[in-house]
């Protein structure tokens, strides 16, 4: 059996573990439906932000006055490399079922993700203390904290999920349920990176460029 028999988007186990591969089809399709409904949540927050960042400035600062593009760029790189590391964790799981290898890649993924959340919290701290830009200052800032905060919460819950999966990999090993959970976490993690593309473009870059 080769990779050509792929049943769903994401890593497919066709060549290495046919049994789990069969079981994965409907589980992963269901998870895609969840991901898309989550995307709807983000889209509505984006729409609110788009309206507020132009018409909801009130007496508060403008986007270009409070955003730090360098920090946004570093955060983008952290999340991108984190997503990339998770891809390699999945390959390690698929082809070698090597616990140590998977755990090391997961650790790298988690550290990069945690650094991302830490930098975002630092951004908030700088904005609130140095730019007088707390969430209650204007509609623009409320929408900004709501959108980026929701994303940061998603990343944080992904980190918790990742820690739980690391324990399961260490204790249970690569049973079919554990593999399927890791595959769903991978999709979740990659999808959060896609949402971040929207945030760094439509929030940070648009805010500074316009």
């Amino acid at each position: 059996m080769s990779l050509s028999e792929r049943l769903h988007p994401g890593i497919n186990l066709a060549g290495t573990d046919p049994e789990s591969h069969e079981a994965a089809e409907e589980v992963l399709f269901g998870f895609w439906i969840f991901l898309m409904s989550d995307l709807v949540l983000f889209a509505v927050l984006f729409a609110t932000y788009a309206a507020m960042s132009v018409q909801g400035i009130a007496e508060g600062p403008r986007p270009a006055e409070v955003f730090d593009l360098t920090a946004a760029f570093v955060e983008t790189l952290l999340l991108l490399f984190s997503s990339f590391a998770f891809g390699f964790a999945m390959l390690e799981m698929k082809y070698r079922e090597n616990r140590r290898g998977v755990l090391l890649w997961l650790l790298l993924t988690g550290v990069l993700g945690a650094a991302f959340v830490g930098m975002e919290l630092h951004d908030y701290y700088v904005m609130i203390t140095q730019h007088a830009a707390p969430p209650q200052a204007s509609g623009f800032l409320s929408a900004y904290y709501l959108l980026t905060g929701t994303h940061a919460l998603h990343v944080s819950s992904g980190l918790v999920w990742m820690a739980i999966m690391a324990v399961q990999v260490a204790v249970v090993g690569f049973s079919t349920p554990v593999k399927l959970r890791l595959m769903r976490l991978a999709l979740f993690w990659h999808m959060l990176d896609v949402v971040w593309i929207g945030i760094f473009t439509f929030v940070y870059l648009f805010g500074v460029a316009s």
Binding site: L7, P9, A50, Y95, M191, T201, F206
Partner: protein
């Protein structure tokens, strides 16, 4: 990352792994180039006004497709049509909701101006 080939791994699987690994690397490189281009556009003031926003939006769209293709492995294979249709339908709903919200709120804003 060890490069040794396990004794029990058939050659075809090893090739498959090489291909999947390359796919992630290609995705990473493309994403890095697109991200850097987007930030450079703003940092170096390469474009301004509407042209800058259009270019940034286009770069974001391309990067989203790159992530979907190389990290989430979505392509036009027949077995993926269900998932692709799900994604495209969601995108349609998102466009309606986002553009509708922006339009209506903008209209309200204009009417509220003294």
């Amino acid at each position: 990352m060890s490069n040794r080939i396990p004794a029990d791994m058939p050659p075809s699987e090893y090739e498959d792994e090489g291909r999947e690994r390359r796919s992630y690397v290609v995705g990473l490189v493309l994403a890095l180039v697109l991200t850097t281009a987007a930030f450079a556009t703003v940092w170096l003031d390469l474009l301004s006004g509407g042209a800058a926003l259009a270019a940034l939006g286009l770069l974001a769209l391309i990067q989203a497709v790159v992530h979907l293709r190389y990290f989430l492995h979505i392509d036009l294979q027949r077995s993926h049509r269900d998932d692709l249709l799900l994604i495209l339908f969601t995108v349609l709903i998102l466009l309606i909701m986002v553009s509708g919200t922006i339009w209506i709120l903008y209209d309200q804003h204009v009417r509220m101006m003294p």
